[in-house]
Protein backbone atom coordinates (compact mmCIF):
# COMPACT_ATOMS: atom_id res chain seq x y z
CA UNK A 1 0.00 0.00 0.00
CA UNK A 2 2.76 2.43 0.84
CA UNK A 3 4.72 1.07 -2.11
CA UNK A 4 2.12 2.34 -4.58
CA UNK A 5 2.13 5.71 -2.82
CA UNK A 6 5.93 5.93 -3.21
CA UNK A 7 5.65 5.06 -6.90
CA UNK A 8 2.89 7.66 -7.39
CA UNK A 9 4.94 10.40 -5.72
CA UNK A 10 8.01 9.48 -7.79
CA UNK A 11 6.09 9.52 -11.06
CA UNK A 12 4.37 12.81 -10.12
CA UNK A 13 7.83 14.30 -9.57
CA UNK A 14 9.08 12.94 -12.89
CA UNK A 15 5.99 14.22 -14.74
CA UNK A 16 6.28 17.68 -13.14
CA UNK A 17 9.97 17.90 -14.05
CA UNK A 18 9.35 16.67 -17.58
CA UNK A 19 6.43 19.05 -18.07
CA UNK A 20 8.56 21.93 -16.79
CA UNK A 21 11.41 21.19 -19.21
CA UNK A 22 8.96 20.64 -22.08
CA UNK A 23 7.21 23.97 -21.39
CA UNK A 24 10.49 25.86 -21.02
CA UNK A 25 11.83 24.35 -24.23
CA UNK A 26 8.75 25.14 -26.31
CA UNK A 27 8.52 28.66 -24.85
CA UNK A 28 12.16 29.14 -25.85
CA UNK A 29 11.40 27.87 -29.36
CA UNK A 30 8.60 30.45 -29.54
CA UNK A 31 10.41 33.45 -28.03
CA UNK A 32 14.17 33.19 -28.63
CA UNK A 33 15.48 35.55 -31.31
CA UNK A 34 17.92 33.44 -33.33
CA UNK A 35 17.94 30.10 -35.09
CA UNK A 36 20.93 28.89 -33.08
CA UNK A 37 19.33 29.73 -29.73
CA UNK A 38 16.13 28.00 -30.86
CA UNK A 39 18.31 24.96 -31.59
CA UNK A 40 19.39 25.02 -27.93
CA UNK A 41 15.74 25.12 -26.79
CA UNK A 42 14.82 22.20 -29.08
CA UNK A 43 17.67 20.10 -27.69
CA UNK A 44 16.27 20.67 -24.17
CA UNK A 45 12.96 19.12 -25.31
CA UNK A 46 14.77 16.25 -27.05
CA UNK A 47 16.81 15.22 -24.01
CA UNK A 48 15.31 16.35 -20.70
CA UNK A 49 11.58 16.43 -21.51
CA UNK A 50 11.49 13.10 -23.34
CA UNK A 51 13.66 11.31 -20.76
CA UNK A 52 11.72 12.49 -17.69
CA UNK A 53 8.20 11.98 -19.11
CA UNK A 54 8.96 8.50 -20.45
CA UNK A 55 10.60 7.57 -17.13
CA UNK A 56 7.41 8.61 -15.33
CA UNK A 57 5.35 6.47 -17.70
CA UNK A 58 7.81 3.62 -17.06
CA UNK A 59 7.14 3.81 -13.30
CA UNK A 60 3.35 3.82 -13.79
CA UNK A 61 3.01 0.76 -16.03
CA UNK A 62 4.50 -1.83 -13.70
CA UNK A 63 6.69 -4.57 -15.14
CA UNK A 64 5.37 -6.14 -18.34
CA UNK A 65 5.80 -5.96 -22.11
CA UNK A 66 4.85 -2.26 -22.00
CA UNK A 67 8.03 -1.60 -20.01
CA UNK A 68 10.13 -3.08 -22.81
CA UNK A 69 8.29 -0.94 -25.39
CA UNK A 70 8.86 2.26 -23.38
CA UNK A 71 12.55 1.36 -22.90
CA UNK A 72 12.88 0.86 -26.69
CA UNK A 73 11.22 4.27 -27.31
CA UNK A 74 13.56 5.96 -24.77
CA UNK A 75 16.68 4.45 -26.36
CA UNK A 76 15.59 5.30 -29.87
CA UNK A 77 14.62 8.90 -29.05
CA UNK A 78 17.84 9.49 -27.11
CA UNK A 79 19.85 8.31 -30.14
CA UNK A 80 17.92 9.98 -32.96
CA UNK A 81 17.05 13.30 -31.26
CA UNK A 82 20.62 14.70 -31.03
CA UNK A 83 21.41 13.16 -34.43
CA UNK A 84 18.55 15.01 -36.13
CA UNK A 85 19.39 18.23 -34.28
CA UNK A 86 23.03 17.95 -35.40
CA UNK A 87 21.89 17.29 -38.98
CA UNK A 88 19.73 20.45 -38.99
CA UNK A 89 22.54 22.52 -37.44
CA UNK A 90 25.09 21.19 -39.95
CA UNK A 91 22.75 21.94 -42.87
CA UNK A 92 22.18 25.50 -41.61
CA UNK A 93 25.94 26.03 -41.09
CA UNK A 94 26.81 24.72 -44.55
CA UNK A 95 24.17 26.93 -46.16
CA UNK A 96 25.91 30.01 -44.77
CA UNK A 97 23.89 30.93 -41.66
CA UNK A 98 26.00 32.15 -38.74
CA UNK A 99 25.22 33.32 -35.20
CA UNK A 100 24.94 37.09 -34.78
CA UNK A 101 27.99 37.83 -32.63
CA UNK A 102 30.50 35.96 -34.76
CA UNK A 103 32.16 38.27 -37.30
CA UNK A 104 34.89 36.08 -38.72
CA UNK A 105 35.26 32.32 -39.02
CA UNK A 106 35.87 31.13 -35.45
CA UNK A 107 36.91 27.63 -36.47
CA UNK A 108 40.04 28.78 -38.31
CA UNK A 109 43.22 28.25 -36.25
CA UNK A 110 44.56 31.61 -35.09
CA UNK A 111 48.40 31.09 -34.90
CA UNK A 112 48.58 29.76 -38.44
CA UNK A 113 46.85 32.94 -39.59
CA UNK A 114 49.15 35.22 -37.61
CA UNK A 115 52.41 33.61 -38.76
CA UNK A 116 52.30 34.57 -42.48
CA UNK A 117 51.26 38.12 -41.58
CA UNK A 118 54.48 38.60 -39.61
CA UNK A 119 56.47 37.12 -42.49
CA UNK A 120 54.80 39.49 -44.94
CA UNK A 121 55.51 42.42 -42.66
CA UNK A 122 59.14 41.33 -42.37
CA UNK A 123 59.40 40.80 -46.10
CA UNK A 124 57.80 44.20 -46.72
CA UNK A 125 60.25 45.77 -44.31
CA UNK A 126 63.09 43.95 -46.06
CA UNK A 127 61.84 45.19 -49.42
CA UNK A 128 61.75 48.76 -48.18
CA UNK A 129 65.24 48.29 -46.73
CA UNK A 130 66.48 46.99 -50.09
CA UNK A 131 64.86 49.96 -51.85
CA UNK A 132 66.57 52.34 -49.46
CA UNK A 133 69.93 50.63 -50.05
CA UNK A 134 69.45 50.83 -53.78
Amino acid sequence: MSWTLVIDVLSWALFLGGGFFLFVGSLGMLRLPDFWSRLHAASIIDSAGVGLILAGMLLQTGFSLITVKILIIIGFLLITGPTATHAVANAAFVSGSRPKDIVEDATAPAPVEKAPKKKTKKSAAAKTARKRRA
Binding site: L22, G49, I73, V88, V94
Partner: protein
Protein backbone atom coordinates in the same frame (compact mmCIF):
# COMPACT_ATOMS: atom_id res chain seq x y z
CA UNK B 1 -5.14 12.47 -13.07
CA UNK B 2 -1.43 12.67 -13.74
CA UNK B 3 -1.82 11.38 -17.28
CA UNK B 4 -4.46 14.07 -17.94
CA UNK B 5 -2.09 16.73 -16.57
CA UNK B 6 0.87 15.66 -18.68
CA UNK B 7 -1.33 15.24 -21.78
CA UNK B 8 -2.62 18.82 -21.48
CA UNK B 9 0.95 20.09 -20.94
CA UNK B 10 2.20 18.29 -24.04
CA UNK B 11 -0.74 19.66 -26.05
CA UNK B 12 0.00 23.26 -25.01
CA UNK B 13 3.67 22.78 -25.96
CA UNK B 14 2.64 21.32 -29.32
CA UNK B 15 0.50 24.41 -30.01
CA UNK B 16 3.47 26.71 -29.24
CA UNK B 17 5.81 24.67 -31.46
CA UNK B 18 3.18 24.76 -34.23
CA UNK B 19 3.13 28.57 -34.07
CA UNK B 20 6.91 28.58 -34.59
CA UNK B 21 6.49 26.04 -37.39
CA UNK B 22 4.20 28.41 -39.32
CA UNK B 23 6.04 31.64 -38.42
CA UNK B 24 9.63 30.47 -38.84
CA UNK B 25 11.62 32.97 -40.86
CA UNK B 26 14.03 30.48 -42.44
CA UNK B 27 13.73 26.94 -43.78
CA UNK B 28 15.84 25.46 -40.98
CA UNK B 29 13.55 26.89 -38.29
CA UNK B 30 10.68 25.02 -39.91
CA UNK B 31 12.63 21.76 -40.19
CA UNK B 32 13.79 22.01 -36.56
CA UNK B 33 10.31 22.73 -35.24
CA UNK B 34 8.90 19.90 -37.39
CA UNK B 35 11.36 17.49 -35.76
CA UNK B 36 10.51 18.74 -32.26
CA UNK B 37 6.79 18.56 -33.09
CA UNK B 38 7.24 14.89 -34.06
CA UNK B 39 9.03 14.17 -30.77
CA UNK B 40 6.15 15.81 -28.86
CA UNK B 41 3.70 13.75 -30.93
CA UNK B 42 5.44 10.54 -29.82
CA UNK B 43 5.04 11.61 -26.18
CA UNK B 44 1.42 12.63 -26.81
CA UNK B 45 0.45 9.28 -28.36
CA UNK B 46 2.08 7.39 -25.47
CA UNK B 47 0.38 9.43 -22.74
CA UNK B 48 -3.02 9.31 -24.48
CA UNK B 49 -2.69 5.53 -24.70
CA UNK B 50 -1.97 5.29 -20.98
CA UNK B 51 -4.75 7.82 -20.19
CA UNK B 52 -7.50 5.86 -21.92
CA UNK B 53 -6.20 2.47 -20.77
CA UNK B 54 -5.00 1.29 -24.16
CA UNK B 55 -1.23 0.85 -23.94
CA UNK B 56 -1.05 -0.68 -27.41
CA UNK B 57 -0.70 2.90 -28.66
CA UNK B 58 2.98 2.65 -27.70
CA UNK B 59 3.60 0.60 -30.85
CA UNK B 60 2.23 3.51 -32.90
CA UNK B 61 4.44 5.90 -30.92
CA UNK B 62 7.55 3.82 -31.71
CA UNK B 63 6.63 3.72 -35.40
CA UNK B 64 6.06 7.49 -35.38
CA UNK B 65 9.51 8.05 -33.84
CA UNK B 66 11.14 5.98 -36.59
CA UNK B 67 9.26 7.75 -39.41
CA UNK B 68 9.92 11.19 -37.86
CA UNK B 69 13.71 10.69 -37.87
CA UNK B 70 13.77 9.33 -41.42
CA UNK B 71 11.51 12.17 -42.60
CA UNK B 72 13.73 14.88 -41.09
CA UNK B 73 16.84 13.42 -42.73
CA UNK B 74 14.96 13.07 -46.04
CA UNK B 75 13.80 16.72 -46.01
CA UNK B 76 17.34 17.92 -45.27
CA UNK B 77 18.78 15.72 -48.02
CA UNK B 78 16.19 17.00 -50.48
CA UNK B 79 17.00 20.65 -49.79
CA UNK B 80 20.75 19.94 -50.02
CA UNK B 81 20.87 17.88 -53.21
CA UNK B 82 17.43 18.71 -54.73
CA UNK B 83 16.72 14.99 -55.17
CA UNK B 84 15.65 12.22 -52.81
CA UNK B 85 17.09 9.15 -54.54
CA UNK B 86 20.70 8.63 -55.56
CA UNK B 87 22.89 11.74 -55.66
CA UNK B 88 25.92 10.75 -57.73
CA UNK B 89 27.70 14.11 -57.95
CA UNK B 90 27.83 16.90 -55.40
CA UNK B 91 26.58 20.20 -56.90
CA UNK B 92 28.78 23.28 -56.70
CA UNK B 93 28.42 24.69 -53.20
CA UNK B 94 31.44 26.85 -52.38
CA UNK B 95 30.31 27.22 -48.76
CA UNK B 96 31.25 23.61 -47.99
CA UNK B 97 34.92 24.15 -48.78
CA UNK B 98 34.91 27.49 -46.96
CA UNK B 99 33.44 25.96 -43.79
CA UNK B 100 35.98 23.16 -43.72
Amino acid sequence: MMFAFITITIFVCMVMIMIRLFAGPTLYDRVLSLNTFGTCTVLFIGTVGLLFGRPDFLDIALLYALINFVGTIAVLKFFRYRRIGDAPEIPETPDIEASQ
